[in-house]
């Protein structure tokens, strides 16, 4: 059953959310002013006729009968599953360039159909690309086969999206991998998984696990890793299901070998995840600082105090402006939030505010307190959250105005942040100047740890139509090299995919790379799963 509301063919999110020409003109004026360019071009949007797909190399009619009920080879299905939603995807979508469309799209409805798909593909020498919500920003599932493959098949989990069980005693839910955030939350009743990545509305549990997705919450349970009790994975060699126990010390954790495997070690079909009652108390505060460095110091003090805030985000002045945070007046902002389903977290908020003001912050608005005896539904979100979930829509619109706009994120020890930040801002600004003639870079912290922050950068500049891919590659490379120079990870929660592969290869131990390849050989002897990603 597909939702009647249509996804946009190439831009982020729902088709009906893409701005009309008038809205685009307004946006072009605003962002043009930000970038200091007179006019941003309102680019023509592609029509269905502009869509260029290579012919499919595989025929549905030639498939075994058992597969024909859930495999499609038409161009609509192929185009809809070609790209994620990174900058490269948006540009190619805008151009109507679907050169990497898969030959087939399978949407199995149960594990036996997943198995049948894998068995057929293995026998046929077809590469298989596991697909969740299609929101990758790192070309994580792009259907590029190796020369020995006879075609490509994208395997969507979207027909497997039931919440199979919710155990209120253990607070564990068993959920099929293809469920999106809203789908699984709807099935959890009075509970919540409490995992809200920016892609929440469209991305899937299986995708989160495959990519070690980061959620909205800033401390403690930051990645989906922390919420997964057990996984069930089908690979060409069989089933990999981990023990359903709260913890174990028996050997290396088999679940952790799957987390982050990006479709290369098997198809995640379901998982047992830890759920919580929905929060009833929710406290928030916005703290202003004259200098970014002071806000960083406050965030560090709070991250190291054992207070576990739900929100602890530093926004530099430009981020504060872009996210419409009220306190934005040229200073940096620290957004603080505490939530609980069990108790009033006022004491923790008070302590965090004390640490923030000691570091030089002021909190003119005081603490916003909300209490909901029923438990807060996330849909009733604060302005910050709305801006947070709207950001990808904005990126798509800007791409249609000829803006080079993307984000990247990392994590680094506190002691290295200042030098990293200066180098990143300098290198990206220089690259934008060189390839775009100018641009802006902003920074916020999405997550903070006792040992360091996870800075998240947004950059934008005026692109040159037709040269966007090269321009982006130059800026992205400048950013990634700066991260590498300071020992910062190439990704805190966006995954590796094809985009980050060169830097990932430098970051991980060589022996680990060899071990991962050996593991893959065990579960996928022919190397048919997402070839080119992580291994090969």
């Amino acid at each position: 059953v597909t939702s009647p509301r249509a996804r946009h063919p190439w831009a982020w999110g729902w088709a009906d959310r893409f701005p009309d020409d008038t809205q685009r003109d307004t946006l072009a004026t605003m962002v043009g002013a930000l970038l200091g360019v007179e006019a941003l071009p309102r680019l023509a949007l592609p029509t269905a006729a502009d869509r260029k797909l290579p012919p499919s190399r595989l025929s549905v009619a030639a498939l075994p009968a058992a597969l024909q009920g859930f495999v499609r080879g038409d161009d609509d299905a192929r185009a809809a599953h070609t790209y994620g939603r990174g900058y490269l995807d948006l540009v190619r979508g805008l151009r109507g360039d679907y050169a990497h469309a898969p030959d087939l799209v399978a949407t199995p409805r149960d594990e036996s159909e997943v198995e049948a798909t894998l068995a057929w593909a293995r026998a046929a020498g077809v590469a298989v690309f596991p697909y969740g919500g299609g929101t990758s920003v790192v070309a994580g599932f792009e259907a590029i086969a190796r020369p020995e493959h006879h075609g490509t098949l994208t395997l969507s989990l979207r027909a497997m999206r039931r919440v199979l069980s919710v155990d209120p005693v253990d607070r564990v839910a068993h959920i099929e991998a293809g469920a999106t955030g809203p789908e699984l939350e709807a099935g959890l009743g009075e509970y919540t998984l409490r995992h809200f990545p920016q892609s929440f509305e469209f991305s899937t549990l299986g995708g989160w696990i495959a990519t070690r997705a980061g959620g909205h919450f800033a401390t403690l349970y930051t990645h989906i890793d922390d919420r997964v009790q057990a996984v069930r994975v089908l690979s060409p060699a069989g089933v990999w299901q981990t023990a359903r126990v709260p913890a174990s010390g028996a050997g290396p954790d088999p679940c952790r070998w799957i987390l982050g495997s990006e479709g290369t070690l098997g198809v995640i079909t379901s998982a047992w995840v830890r759920v919580l009652p929905r929060p009833r108390w929710r406290l928030s505060a916005s703290v202003r600082f004259d200098a970014m460095a002071e806000a960083v110091e406050a965030a560090r003090a709070i991250a190291q105090a054992g207070l576990h805030p739900a929100n602890c985000r530093v926004l530099d002045p430009l981020e504060a402006l872009l996210h419409r945070v009220s306190a934005a007046d040229g200073g940096a902002v620290l957004l603080l939030g505490f939530e609980s389903a069990d108790h009033d977290p006022t004491a923790a908020m008070d302590r965090a505010l004390r640490l923030a003001t000691t570091a030089g912050g002021t909190c003119p608005g005081g603490v916003l307190r909300r209490f909901d005896a029923e438990g807060v539904r996330e849909a009733a979100s604060a302005q910050w959250r709305e801006a947070f979930f709207e950001a990808p829509y904005l990126q798509s619109a800007l791409v249609s105005l000829g803006v080079l706009v993307d984000t990247f994120e990392t994590a680094v020890p506190w002691s290295r942040f200042e030098a990293l930040h200066a180098d990143v801002v300098g290198s990206v600004t220089e690259a934008l100047q060189r390839v775009c003639g100018g641009g802006r870079v902003s920074c916020r912290f999405t997550h903070v740890y006792p040992d360091g922050p996870a800075p998240y950068y947004t950059f934008l500049g005026p692109a040159t139509v037709g040269q966007e891919l090269d321009q982006w590659a130059a800026v992205k490379s400048a950013a990634s090299e700066a991260l590498a120079r300071h020992g910062a990870t190439i990704t805190h929660h966006h995954a590796v995919g094809r985009t980050h592969r060169p830097w990932y290869d430098r970051e991980r131990p060589d022996l680990f790379a060899a071990a991962l390849a050996a593991t893959r050989k065990v579960v996928d002897p022919t190397g048919m799963l997402n070839p080119g990603v992580l291994t090969d």
Copy 2:
């Protein structure tokens, strides 16, 4: 530099802590009464002359000169590194049976000497057994080679035990793997690793990482896993050092592949670990319940409330008695503790107590509050902690009185605990009755998670001299089979070793076992590291 205080040759801990004959007689009377036997035998303790070692198959004199400075082949060194401190080890130590003594003991002083040892052993076809504090209770490093090996070498990390750096900004310390708990804590100054396994005084950081050791604290950061930022490992194939970042989403976590590898994937030489200021506030309370089930319900409510207590231990009546908890009067006890270096955790303690009393508990003693402006040194420990660290001494003494006494632990979802517990107690009691003519079983929770507890069982019964190993195997098997029947893990924090291997093999996914073997083949192509453990 070795401490002048001597370790006991086979019993737990310091030699000077082993009870004298009078103390043993007193203990024999007390425990005899508990077991309902008239008199426990005070067994003769072995002298050095009773020690039976096979001759070493390898000669130090024949080693390359570079190794001779740190390799020993004398019987004292070999015997001292033969056994851990599990029941089987204690019985064999008491018998003077050192059949599995390694041929050589290497104690390299730096990484180059580790490398030289591995290179020589590989060329010579000698199996290598990485060794930390020698406190394994699962035969984790017993030097049993495979037929193709020409001898065995135990590789002790104890000469590599420096705290190399402490970063107060990042709150990360770089520590050599051979440091014991007290050694590393002494080097951390005003910080603490806050990891206190029962073996703390003797076990090492590298051993903790290799075995995924559990610490003293009952929630949140339960295993050493949670405190490790990065590891450095030397294997026969080279170095595996992970990135020093607070978090990353780049592929499966290379650090998590090492955690729990039990010496089979390389020698952990150092690690970067997250440290904390020592706690200043420390609150504790002891809550009494008429029924164990009520205490379990209280523990669940607290574990699921997001309060993160440092201590949240359920003790059944026998455990309460054995640990000399004051509230022990035939009821079950819940020990609660909250600690912080940053703030007074009274609000959290009050909420936890409210949850406990709602579940039927009473807290006649109220909350014990301690504040220490300097930060609490762990040595100044409460009665519970003293009893906790003393338990292994007691086990050794009891073994010398002919008592079959051991512990095992697991983790299981809350919803399965009641049935598991009944089965475990029933099966172990039945086995004790069958092989010993009677005995006792007690239970406590060492750790609690939102999705389940980690129950820890102690059993004891009168053994028959000469038949202890078979008797123990019968009871251990009954316990392990009960765990397996209920899907409980074979170990929450004692590791796998040789003792748990049969059940571990059933618990882990078969494909994971194959992947682990393939990984081992990459880092240790000849299978020389701790053969027989986890893989092979």
